[in-house]
């Protein structure tokens, strides 16, 4: 549940980028950091390994400004995608308000997407939450690569619920803001 702090008049929403390892979650958040005006965002914090893989999480606070007297903040997190890091992945899901599932479109990574989605369900269930109750959108990333699965097939496998989805080339900023905007709006509507 988003934290509404009445005394300091702040609303904080936690949005988590989830998906298989090396799928582009950190690239998404880095692009957002580079494009959002400095006065509207905080420091980008990355806890990664020497090999550039996210060890714990990346974190970027974004300030939406004042809405009806309330300061609205979005806290963007990525989780480490590698199967090995499930313990820290689970921790980041604590208190999540919205999810952006970053899937890797490459044929050889197809199964990793399914596995990651299953892992997401399992980890949420440990907090007593169901995936269906949390706003979620999907980004089909790496659409610029040659060896990719068709959108129709990805949709059929990963998006049986017909959630908002879009194609992305996160390194070039394509399809980065659309899913973020979509899930943020849904999170806000969920506050009602």
């Amino acid at each position: 549940m988003s934290l509404i702090n009445y005394a300091s008049k702040e609303i904080n929403c936690k949005i988590v980028y989830y998906g298989p390892g090396l799928g582009g979650k950190t690239t998404n958040i880095k692009y957002i950091y580079s494009k959002v005006e400095p006065q509207s965002r905080g420091r980008l914090m990355s806890l990664d390994t020497e090999l550039d893989r996210t060890l714990f999480f990346d974190f970027l606070p974004v300030n939406l400004g004042t809405v009806k007297g309330f300061q609205v903040h979005f806290h963007l997190y990525t989780v480490p995608g590698q199967v090995y890091y499930n313990a820290s992945r689970k921790l980041i899901l604590k208190g999540v308000d919205g999810l952006i599932f970053v899937s890797d479109s490459q044929i050889e990574r197809f199964d990793d997407n399914i596995e990651s989605l299953e892992n997401l369900k399992e980890n949420l269930s440990e907090y007593g939450k169901k995936l269906e109750t949390i706003p979620m959108v999907i980004q089909y990333n790496k659409r610029d690569l040659p060896n990719i699965v068709s959108i129709a097939e990805l949709e059929e496998t990963l998006n049986s619920r017909g959630l908002f989805s879009c194609e992305g080339v996160a390194v070039d900023g394509i399809g980065v803001f659309e899913p973020l905007k979509s899930v943020s709006k849904e999170v806000l509507r969920n506050l009602k």
Binding site: Y6, S40, K94, R189
Partner: protein
Amino acid sequence: MHPLNINQKEQEYQQLGAENIDSFEREYQKIKKNLEKLCIETKASAVLLIDKAGQLITSSGDTSSLDIPSFATLSAADFAATSNLADLIGEHDFSTLFHQGIAKSIYVSLIADQVILAVIFPKETTLGLVRIKVRKASEEMEILFQNIFAELESEYVGTVDQEFIDEAESELDSLFE
């Protein structure tokens, strides 16, 4: 605070549709006072209350040079990671964490099983003193937080209406162009 200001504040909150906001505000102010007292007694540079999802609730002391969002996020992650470590050796939780530095140290503990209290204190203050003062303050704040949690459910309703959402969505559109 001037009586007029209190009145204005109450009116503002009532406009938000939150019926129990007065008592919420009172409990919150008591918590703030507790934090201020703790800060003085331990000579801490800052004392912060953070929720388990890594968001700052409130703080006392000088936080001007502190990157608060990062601090709050890392404290929550630190606590969560340590809880899992505890679990691995068959402990329910490690109720406190202590990070010792040269000039400054951090003492972290949990209140009411939901709120993280972090005290940043100088080398002049002993860990023992921080422990004792934190324990006392935590006991007092635990009751206050339990009252707040009980009220939160009803206060949650009504703040966010359609007008709020429309305005927030338009802000989103311009921020994430």
